[in-house]
């Protein structure tokens, strides 16, 4: 399943993207930050479209967090 997801760096400038993500939630309380992250997931997920890719990402995200 996870071969649907690329493991190498997809961004030209990874540091910049990471910074942008952090900036997106800086200065917010947890509740607001969660909502911004949820919007990001919805917008990016819709852009990806393929539910199999999203399922694969969910599996990875969940398995790294459960234990």
């Amino acid at each position: 399943m996870s071969d649907l997801l690329r493991k190498d760096l997809g961004f030209a400038d990874g540091d910049a993207v990471y910074e942008a993500l952090i900036n997106a939630i800086s200065g917010l309380d947890d509740q607001q930050a969660m909502k911004v992250m949820a919007k990001l997931i919805l917008l990016l997920g819709n852009q990806i479209g393929d539910p199999a890719v999203i399922e694969a990402a969910i599996t990875v995200a969940r398995s790294e967090t459960d234990g």
């Binding site: 947890d30 509740q31 969660m34 909502k35 911004v36 992250m37 949820a38 919007k39 997931i41 919805l42 917008l43 819709n46």
Partner: protein, 561 residues
């Protein structure tokens, strides 16, 4: 209640207690709710007698079903009550979704083209039941008994003995088949010792029916987190007689007995409607909802239908609507089995198809409930994120879930479907209702509806009078299990029933070519389709749809009883 007077149906001494001969019954139906009543009327339409036992002496009391879906109206039309329901009910098709104090977007349920019935009407459940009771009263084949409570049963391999309690004492009644339509607290279910599988939602809802003269439109209005009910949801929907349904989510910690008191209900509703609108309370209750079903809907000679078999939250209006589809699915099968024309195994497909449908309803209802009531802070964040995006991002609107309103199940995986498929309508799909111009044999053409022509028997739609004739389809109506023949033609001729499709609309909807054939089951779901007419293919698809694999030619004379 101010707007409705409950009829009181008289108890009559049953023959069993009057010392009269009480023959074994072919079918006993437990429960005269919408599902039991519809089952009895449908059976009568197939010429089958039934006895209906109900522990009460009136129609549904309190705030229950209001939204009746298009497919339900089509079924109820076949049963003879849809016109009355349309007349009394409120037709609507628009829903508005609000978040906080803003209107987010609206949706429109209307289908394109001329339709016999709208997507939904709203009508209080007691009216629907009243009409069904009156309709049942016209059928000599229906023996409807009020204040007859089933208290015990003994299931045998070839029938069931019911013990029935009445004001004049108890009696037993033997039946070949029992339809358990005795609702969510089904006594029959308990007597057989069955459990529900599924979830109870830890949430409470205040359901209030209020009488008011308000100029709100005939629309379904839903609020997430409105100022008048912070952090909770709300719903406003019009019914007949200037009665409005109000649903206010209260949360799990609410005290149901306190919340039901008028001194608490009235201020809540005032906060919602404002101080200027005068209203009277018609009925209030506090509900908890569940999404669950029996593992199997058939237990030997006992067939469970409606709330006795499955329950959902009301947000998709899938309760009574799906129960009536149970009836639609069950009765033609039971009729064929009772007439000895189909094997008992056909009733296992009632279980297979309606369990599949119940799971679809439960899935939709569970998803709505999860959206309306987020289970933790992060799901709440997802929910609110979706709502905030919905104004400007159409994709997010599609994710907003204030209830996925009832749609008929498509039995895609049904063992009754043949592998033969063709055109735009897949096997298992309910036939779309379409305006047609039709000419019955020997009559002048008139406007009508396709479903009315299909009726409650097998029917084949053949595109072309000549194609049907040369393939020998004219013999099908004389089969032991008859298949009505409906020919679609461009011109105004034909010796059989014909549909005049001058504009080619029907052909486009079905993706038909000259000679194409579409076979429908008695519940109007498609079982197979072919690019060209082939009488033996049609017969074997019909046989498959009744669980009968038959070799050789069909006898042309009807089989003996």
């Amino acid at each position: 209640m101010q707007t409705y007077e409950f009829p009181r149906f008289a108890f009559e001494t049953p023959p069993e207690l009057a010392g009269k001969a009480a023959p074994r019954r072919r079918v006993a139906i437990v429960g005269a709710g919408p599902i039991g009543l519809a089952a009895a009327i449908d059976l009568a339409g197939h010429g089958i007698e039934s006895v209906v036992l109900d522990d009460d002496d009136t129609v549904s009391v309190g705030s229950r079903a209001i939204c009746w879906a298009k497919r339900t109206l089509e079924i109820l039309d076949r049963l003879g009550v849809a016109d009355r329901m349309m007349q009394k009910g409120v037709t609507w098709q628009t829903g508005k979704v609000h978040f906080g104090d803003r209107a987010l977007y609206q949706f429109d349920l209307a289908d394109a083209g001329r339709q016999r019935f709208p997507a939904f009407i709203n009508l209080q459940q007691y009216y629907a039941e009243e009409y069904l009771v009156e309709r049942a009263g016209e059928e000599p084949a229906i023996d409807l008994r009020w204040r007859n409570k089933v208290v015990d049963l003994d299931a045998q391999s070839d029938g069931v003995t019911l013990t029935v309690e009445t004001p004049e004492g108890a009696y037993t009644l033997d039946a070949d088949w029992v339809i358990a339509a005795d609702g969510a607290r089904s006594q029959v279910r308990r007597l057989v010792g069955l459990d529900f599988m599924g979830r109870v939602f830890e949430d409470r809802f205040l359901i209030a029916d209020v009488i008011m003269r308000a100029d709100f439109p005939k629309e379904r209005w839903f609020w997430f987190d409105p100022p008048f009910n912070p952090d909770q949801s709300a719903l406003l929907h019009m019914q007949a007689d200037n009665v409005w349904r109000i649903d206010l989510q209260l949360g799990w910690d609410a005290d149901p007995d306190e919340e039901r008191k008028p001194e608490n209900v009235v201020p809540r509703i005032k906060r919602m409607l404002g101080d200027d609108i005068a209203f009277d309370l018609e009925w209030t209750s506090v509900y908890t909802f569940q999404c669950r079903r029996l593992e199997k809907f058939r237990h030997g000679r006992i067939l469970f239908a409606g709330d006795a078999a499955h329950q959902v939250s009301p947000f998709g209006a899938r309760g009574a609507n799906s129960g009536l589809q149970d009836v639609d699915n069950l009765i033609w099968k039971l009729a064929l089995v009772l007439d000895g024309k189909a094997p008992d195994a056909l009733l296992d497909t009632y279980d297979a198809e309606r369990v599949y449908a119940a799971d679809e309803n439960i899935l939709n209802s569970t998803r709505s409930t999860d959206f309306i009531t987020p289970k933790n802070a992060a799901s709440r964040a997802f929910r609110d994120a979706t709502l905030e995006l919905a104004t400007d991002w159409p994709f997010a609107r599609d994710l907003v879930n204030s209830g996925r309103l009832s749609r008929p199940a498509t039995y895609t995986e049904s063992p009754l479907n043949s592998a033969d498929a063709f055109g735009n309508v897949a096997p298992g799909t309910p036939c779309p209702d379409l305006a047609v111009r039709m000419a019955r044999a020997g009559e002048t053409a008139r406007d009508g509806w396709l479903l009315e022509l299909l009726g409650d028997r097998f029917a084949v739609l053949c595109f072309g009078v000549q194609a049907a004739a040369s393939a020998g389809l004219g013999d099908l109506p004389a089969d032991a299990i008859p298949i009505a023949l409906l020919c679609v033609t461009a011109g105004e001729s034909g010796r059989t029933d014909t549909i005049i499709d001058a504009g080619g609309h029907l052909a486009r909807v079905f993706g038909a070519e000259p000679g194409s054939c579409y076979l429908f089951r008695p519940d109007q779901h498609l079982c197979a389709a072919w690019p060209s007419a082939d009488v033996s293919a049609i017969r074997s698809a019909r046989d498959q749809a009744v669980c009968q694999s038959r070799q050789g030619a069909e006898p042309t004379t009807a089989a003996a009883d």
